[in-house]
């Protein structure tokens, strides 16, 4: 208790230094959030205008099969994105952390360099890969595995693959950071006490890297619900994710209040996910690479 008091005092004395950051937060996050919430309670006017009457009618509109189906589809996509990112990203991060420093640098470059390229351009790359005359179909045709080109582009499958591709680094980085910080003496102790390599991994490595995994799951799950350009480019006409809904209402229907309501729902969802994450013992620091 005594030590906590000391820490509290220490933090209080540093508060003035945090003021600019807090001001920034209030101005650019707090105020815009309040604007969105306020907007969501208005009614659309002509063009981009909005005004009275006020009410929760925009939220009531969301409770229709169209939007609930979109929400479910988004959540499912986000779930599988997080899952596959974990399945692919964990081994990648694990071996990257255990590789020699030189190999580690190369693997890190492999992961990061694509990030310096515009995301849109990379998604166009997938478009080429998936197209009827693209390399995947060409190869499968050439091998005689298929008689006619597969329809890959403009499917949910393409959106899912693209999403996993786009989100993978957000899983790899926190897991890598957790594995890299691991004290391998723990694993040795576990082997020494009679655990096979697999048992040692399950009983020691997994629990000890869990903070990284949880952070990775949150960091891949949340953006997957909201990303719209991926499904715009790779998805079919019936792929309507939550992000697309917001996008459409905003730019096509020009119904600002309704778009705001959809955004608020997305925000609430994100909030719930983060609450669950905190409840499971996850900490904000684990998300920082």
């Amino acid at each position: 208790m005594k030590s906590r008091g000391v820490v509290g005092k220490y933090q209080r004395s540093r508060e003035p230094l945090a003021l600019p950051m807090m001001l920034y937060g209030v101005l650019f996050v707090g105020l815009s959030l309040m604007y969105i919430i306020g907007l969501s309670l208005m009614t659309r006017g002509a063009d981009f205008n909005a005004g009275a009457p006020f009410g929760a009618h925009n939220y009531a509109r969301i409770f229709s099969t169209l939007y609930l189906r979109s929400l479910l589809q988004s959540l499912r996509l986000a779930f599988f994105t997080a899952l596959f990112c974990l399945l692919i990203g964990y081994p990648f991060a694990y071996f990257m952390a255990k590789a020699s420093p030189k190999a580690r640098t190369w693997l890190m470059l492999l992961l990061i360099v694509p990030f310096w390229t515009n995301a849109l351009i990379r998604i166009y790359g997938w478009k080429i890969l998936f197209s009827a005359t693209g390399p995947i179909n060409q190869a499968l045709l050439g091998l005689g595995l298929i008689a006619r080109p597969l329809r890959l582009l403009y499917t949910d499958f393409a959106v899912q693959v693209g999403m996993i591709y786009a989100m993978l680094p957000f899983m790899v980085l926190p897991v890598y950071s957790a594995v890299e910080r691991m004290d391998w003496a723990m694993v040795e102790a576990s082997r020494d006490l009679g655990a096979s390599p697999a048992r040692a991994f399950l009983t020691v490595t997994v629990p000890m890297t869990l903070p990284g995994v949880l952070a990775g799951l949150v960091l891949t799950f949340i953006p997957s619900i909201g990303l719209f350009f991926l499904s715009d480019l790779l998805g079919g006409s019936n792929t309507m994710l939550w992000g697309n809904m917001v996008h459409n209402e905003l730019l096509k229907s020009r119904d600002l209040p309704f778009a705001a309501a959809l955004s608020v729902v997305l925000l609430a969802l994100t909030g719930i996910v983060i609450l669950v994450y905190r409840r499971m013992g996850g900490r904000a620091e684990s998300m920082v690479f």
Binding site: D183, A185, M186, E188, A189, S190, R191, D192, L193, G194, A195, S196, R199, T203, V204, P207, M208
Partner: protein, 364 residues
């Protein structure tokens, strides 16, 4: 060491990391029930030796036999050997109970049996009531006890301890030393103990293997190592000693006559000497006596008292001999009035206290 049955034997153990030679051909037999210490400065290869015995490292050459069985390439989990790691390596996500029960749970032991055994262990290491604590909530000494209990619960044939007391403060370290020793005697488990602290090694060990640069310098009882060091390194690593350069004047039947700074005095003989050569004589600081008046004893030199410090129970004095060599002397302070600085004093010792050692100092 009851019936001198060899439990562990290392043969020609060699280990190279990249181009670095860590172990340079080790041979060692450890007897059942023995407390053996691997002592040496950091980087001498003692931890590598331990890791090879535990199976956490594979030797480049050589073999490890436990109870007559070749375990050189056996996985660590298949060896009846357990380790107490340097920084305890307790599982941070498990409480004390789960840490201690870990090994038994892996073996699929019945839950009620595990509970009974864990309680026995908690009793042994005096940690009853701490079952629910997490490692982060324990003091260094308590973590240490958990680490020991976690290994001992598996009743290993051999327990390896890698500098287990290194992180504890001095008082706790002395107390844990005693407890470790009595635990070892109570359970009759063979201990291989690693330390760089000779003060720790001497009172606990049945035998000490002194290591340097991946080799054993001397394998001996604590008394043998202290009283009869074979080399200059052994003499100076353990206790405080003066390494005095002397010339061999003559070799008699059982002793040699040495010349130290102009004084001729006898010393017990080592057969590898030849007259005229320079040798090193190890003289323990506390085995040298000082007096202002001549003493009638064969092992005696005179010199100038150049420094003298009162250090509690003893007085540390520096004596410069005629040829410039300086003797460091520790004498109990109850002895008579101390001589004045700058005066000539007589330094003398029992003939048994002078030990001729091989010069293995690293020339720099």
């Amino acid at each position: 060491m009851p019936e001198h049955k060899v439990l562990l034997s290392l043969r020609g153990l060699r280990k190279t990391f990249d181009t670095q030679e860590a172990l340079d051909g080790l041979d060692l037999d450890v007897f059942e029930g023995e407390f053996i210490t691997l002592l040496g400065p950091s980087g001498c290869g003692k931890t590598t030796t331990l890791r090879i015995i535990a199976g956490l490292e594979m030797p480049t050459e050589g073999s490890v036999h436990l109870d007559g069985q070749d375990i050189t390439h056996l996985a660590p989990e298949k060896r009846e050997v357990n380790t107490v790691f340097q920084n305890y390596a307790l599982f941070p996500h498990m409480n004390v109970y789960k840490n201690i029960a870990y090994g038994l749970a892996l073996r699929g032991m019945d839950k009620s049996d595990i509970k009974r055994r864990v309680n026995e262990m908690l009793d042994l290491v005096q940690l009853e009531g701490y079952e629910k604590r997490m490692p982060s909530q324990l003091s260094g000494g308590q973590r240490q006890r958990v680490a020991i209990a976690r290994s001992l619960i598996l009743s290993p044939k051999l327990l390896l301890l890698d500098e287990p007391l290194g992180a504890l403060d001095l008082q706790l370290r002395r107390q844990m030393q005693q407890e470790l020793k009595s635990m070892q005697q109570l359970l009759c488990i063979t201990f291989i103990y690693i330390t760089h602290d000779q003060v720790e090694a001497l009172p606990m060990s049945d035998r000490i293997a002194l290591m340097r640069s991946g080799r054993f310098v001397q394998l001996d009882t604590p008394k043998g190592l202290y009283e009869q060091p074979h080399t200059a390194f052994a003499a100076s690593f353990i206790g405080e000693t003066n390494l005095v350069t002397a010339r061999v004047e003559a070799i008699k039947e059982k002793e040699v006559l040495l010349n130290i700074a102009g004084f001729t005095l006898p010393c017990y003989c080592e057969d590898w000497l030849t007259p005229g050569e320079n040798i090193l004589l190890s003289l323990r600081a506390e085995r040298i006596h000082l007096s202002a008046l001549p003493v009638n004893t064969p092992c005696r030199v005179t010199g100038e008292l150049i420094e003298s410090h009162y250090a509690g129970g003893e007085r540390v004095s520096l004596i410069r001999l005629m040829d410039g060599q300086v003797l460091r002397v520790r004498a109990t302070t109850e002895s008579e009035a101390e001589p004045e600085l700058g005066s000539t004093v007589y330094a003398w010792w029992n003939q048994l206290s002078g030990v001729i050692v091989r010069d293995d100092r690293v020339s720099s």
